[in-house]
Symmetry: C2
Subunit: 416 residues, 2 copies
């Protein structure tokens, strides 16, 4: 098993050189060819996926997970379209910025280059296989994928399709490799493959991400969890505030940029909360309120300390009344997960204070937290939403899969 | 012990809010005040340091380490001047870049902000205490320091001086905290303090850095080790090549950007190596050569496989003859540590190929690897040289101690 990872690692490093210098035209042609082939292979992919689904159901997989695992002709078309969109994006690799002449005549600049070998650990979502490959390939990276065991047949069929196209295109097929041994031991060993893997990106639920953060010795980009707040200030347009809360809470509940907790200034609680609660109850949202909020929301459940730190990913919202924007900021900085936070206000000072002092990847004034997303931000693609502070913060597009190296032109300079 | 770290962590998070919004003028005033006080306290600092040095010598500390540990009036002046220089640098915090209007009217930009709480683990070099604090403070970060046990009295005296000035200036004194329990258990627990520490930067030898990389669950910026190569191409100006090799190998041997290995094109080995070897031997440099190189260097020691991967940090150089620039690139990408690599050539294609294909933080044409340094690159400061690819690569100045957050101005946008 460890030997298998060693071989995979060596294969990846061998493919790295060719990927580093692959021309943009060539990368785009290959991406389009793979998109075409995925569509042509729809029947084969569906067959492999049906076997995964059948096995999953037999093992009692919940229907929510089955839904994520399942491929349909439409979803396969979606994967292909994703690759076509990535082909259409500008290639960030090779750009040189900040080239400046030093007093000693050295010309120093930073060139954008691939990260090298990217490891991706994910759960039973076969679409991640094609998506992650597309973004890594476009940025000249080699990728090693470790998908969930429940999707092994689907992933293998997708990867076969990609590798076949790479081979035909005379690009190293090891630009993508799939770890097919889905044991926990292999996963752990993979997370310590520092010699061969430059960065590890976990994609999935909180448990998976925590496991990778705790075990990996490879640099990790942490993605995902979002305990997002909306603070309704005393000067807020209350009708706008209600529309934004409804959108952020109910437009899609299972996503990381959905609103999980509402803070309301005490001066507007009477005017705002009963009206909002009515709309939330209509959508079957459970309200867990502190005492002050509960006093104006008949039907609210009492909130406990645990609620303030919980990402529900469900039709539940916690509500707390605060005395000032400062109290709101302090509460958010204590309980949030560094994802997305919003203030609804018409007060200039409070808006700027909130933007300055809330510590999160994305801080909004008068808009829904649901916009934190690579496509909404205009990146045309997304490999995840980083909730850590190193390297990338917030929605990660192609740039997040690159690094820079200094290139220095001299004419004989030595250090004195 | 773990409770102590918990308290330190809470203190740091409490100081974070005030540091996040501290005005540049105030930060600069405080840095200058600390510089003045360090100079005024020279006697007290020397006394504390003398006790560390005495204990070190009694415990058989090698003189090289004693030299790094020892403070002198000149070195204390140097620490103070370092803080004055940091005060004079531009403050990167608060800049907003890339502010763009999306089709739905949202105005999205990225604001440069502090990382938050920075942990620094280092060895017995008291100057790191003031240097690291200065850079972190200027960038609005809170710092927790864990210095080597051999420098505990010196570090405590320096930190006392800083905290006293912070208190007087009405800045939270917990902007700097020193872990005075120097046990290995405390170090390990510190590396897992994810709740309170945003990034960990180890500064020191290979052993320390590896220990941190392997144990830490906090994101780490790996710094330091440099197995740097110089490749002398067939078209090189051989006199320039010899000057550059001599500089990169002998100007200072114990540093990470010194040259450890020389690759020479076979067509110039006869003309180049005997002349260079004479100059290296004059400086008492041991030459460990492969067979082809040894055949023209009387007095060379045979190189083993181990030599290619070794960072000597000493008067030793490995030498290998290669048949092409491709062979040089492949060798470097196999054995280097991602630090600094140079080609000496007058061939345009080979120069560009080397810049493109060598995987390292800094790649040079016709210059000494010794320039990889924050001051030489014009950053006016350096917290270390990153040899990893995430977040920062190469010399890290103030920017490396910052991150960004998205700020979004809306007027009621919800997601459809």
């Amino acid at each position: 098993m460890v030997e298998m990872l060693e071989i995979l690692g060596q294969n990846a490093r061998e493919a790295e050189g060719a990927m580093r210098t692959l021309a943009t035209d060539k990368k785009n042609q290959v991406l389009l060819k793979i998109a075409r082939r995925l569509k042509e292979r729809t029947d084969i992919l569906l067959e492999a996926n049906a076997a995964d689904v059948e096995k999953g159901r037999k093992n009692g997989m919940p229907e929510g997970i089955v839904d994520r695992l399942m491929l349909t002709p439409e979803r396969i078309r979606g994967m292909a379209e994703g690759l076509e969109q990535v082909a259409a994006l500008e290639d960030p690799i090779g750009e040189v910025t900040g080239m400046k002449k030093r007093p000693n005549g050295l010309l120093i600049g930073q060139k954008r280059v691939p990260l090298g070998v990217v490891g991706i650990i994910y759960e039973a979502r076969p679409n991640v296989t094609a998506d992650a490959f597309g973004l890594c390939f476009k940025t000249g990276n080699v990728v090693i994928l470790k998908g969930g065991s429940d999707a092994i047949r689907s992933n293998t069929a997708i990867v076969d399709c990609i590798r076949e196209t790479l081979r035909e295109s005379e690009v190293p097929e090891n630009a993508i490799q799939l770890i097919t041994d889905t044991s926990r031991e292999t996963a752990s060993a993979f997370m310590k493959l520092n010699r061969y893997v430059d960065v590890l990106i976990p994609r999935g639920g909180r448990g998976l991400i925590q496991a990778v953060v705790n075990q990996s010795t490879i640099p990790v980009i942490e993605t995902g969890t979002g305990n997002c707040h909306i603070y309704v200030d005393e000067s807020a347009d209350l009708s706008m505030a209600a529309d934004i809360v409804m959108n952020a809470k109910t437009q899609r509940v299972g996503v990381c940029n959905a609103c999980e907790s509402l803070l309301v200034h005490e001066k507007v609680k009477d005017a705002f909360l009963p009206v909002l609660a009515k709309r939330l109850f209509e959508k079957n949202v459970e309200i867990r309120a502190d005492e002050a909020a509960a006093s104006v929301i008949p039907g609210a459940v009492p909130a406990t300390e645990e609620d303030w730190g919980t990402e529900y990913l469900d039709y539940i919202i916690s509500v707390k009344v605060v005395g000032s924007v400062q109290e709101a900021i302090d509460h958010i900085n204590r309980y949030n997960t560094g994802h997305s936070e919003a203030i609804i206000t018409d007060n200039y000072t409070n808006a700027q204070k909130f933007l300055d002092e809330v510590d999160a990847a994305a801080v909004y004034v008068n808009a829904s937290t649901r916009f934190t997303d690579g496509f909404e931000f205009g990146y045309g693609a997304e490999i995840g939403i980083s909730t850590q502070k190193l390297h990338a913060r917030g929605p990660m597009g192609l740039l997040a899969l690159t690094t820079t190296k200094y290139i220095i032109y001299g004419n004989g300079q030595v250090r004195g």
